[in-house]
Symmetry: C2
Subunit: 112 residues, 2 copies
């Protein structure tokens, strides 16, 4: 145990944005990237918190990968949580659907 506060320094640096506070522009830009859509489709077909960032099959390096996860988080599309050295993910489907009805379905329930 290293701190009496809430979570580690790493966990505290993890900032989330509520989908309701996300501008449409930000949401669309986040969805308009094929790598990010791959991540979202993958999350949509797996249980919450079952996938760490490194377990996705993506054609980019880990630096770029980390960037994409940050964009998805800032767009209110995913939630992240630390579990040991790994960072687990969850698709924020109900919250995002409430803020942008139909957008997520129209975007990921379909091949490219």
């Amino acid at each position: 145990m290293v701190s009496a506060g809430e979570g580690s320094a790493r966990a505290r640096s993890l900032s989330h944005v509520a989908p309701a506070d996300v501008p449409l522009q930000t949401a669309l830009e986040a969805l308009a990237d094929p790598v990010r859509r791959t991540i979202l489709r993958d999350l949509a077909t797996h249980d919450d918190w079952s996938r760490a960032c490194g377990t996705f099959d993506l054609p980019v390096t880990k630096a770029t990968r980390s960037h994409h996860f940050a964009v998805l988080r800032a767009a209110g599309l995913i939630e992240q949580r630390d579990e040991g050295a790994r960072r687990l993910n969850r698709l924020r489907r109900p919250e995002f659907d409430a803020a942008f009805p139909g957008l997520l379905a129209a975007t990921i329930d379909r091949a490219d």
Copy 2:
């Protein structure tokens, strides 16, 4: 009369793409621009063929405006037709909705 063919040279150069043949990537990129969404919202609230390109209130020059209309056409979002010197527009709502169910509604039935 200048030609026995179908329409004028100008009209013949107007190529349209069926929404069903548009990649999701192209559709999302077209929708991820605020100027283009303004055009689409405008079209959605007016009768078909009632608006010429120049009649839209947009914060860009006519060169940029022309570019945006070309992008919307290539994404299967609008159809254009020449009427004298003006080019009239129509939102391809049913065709686009069939190809991308819910996407257009999620994008334009909402403030930015």
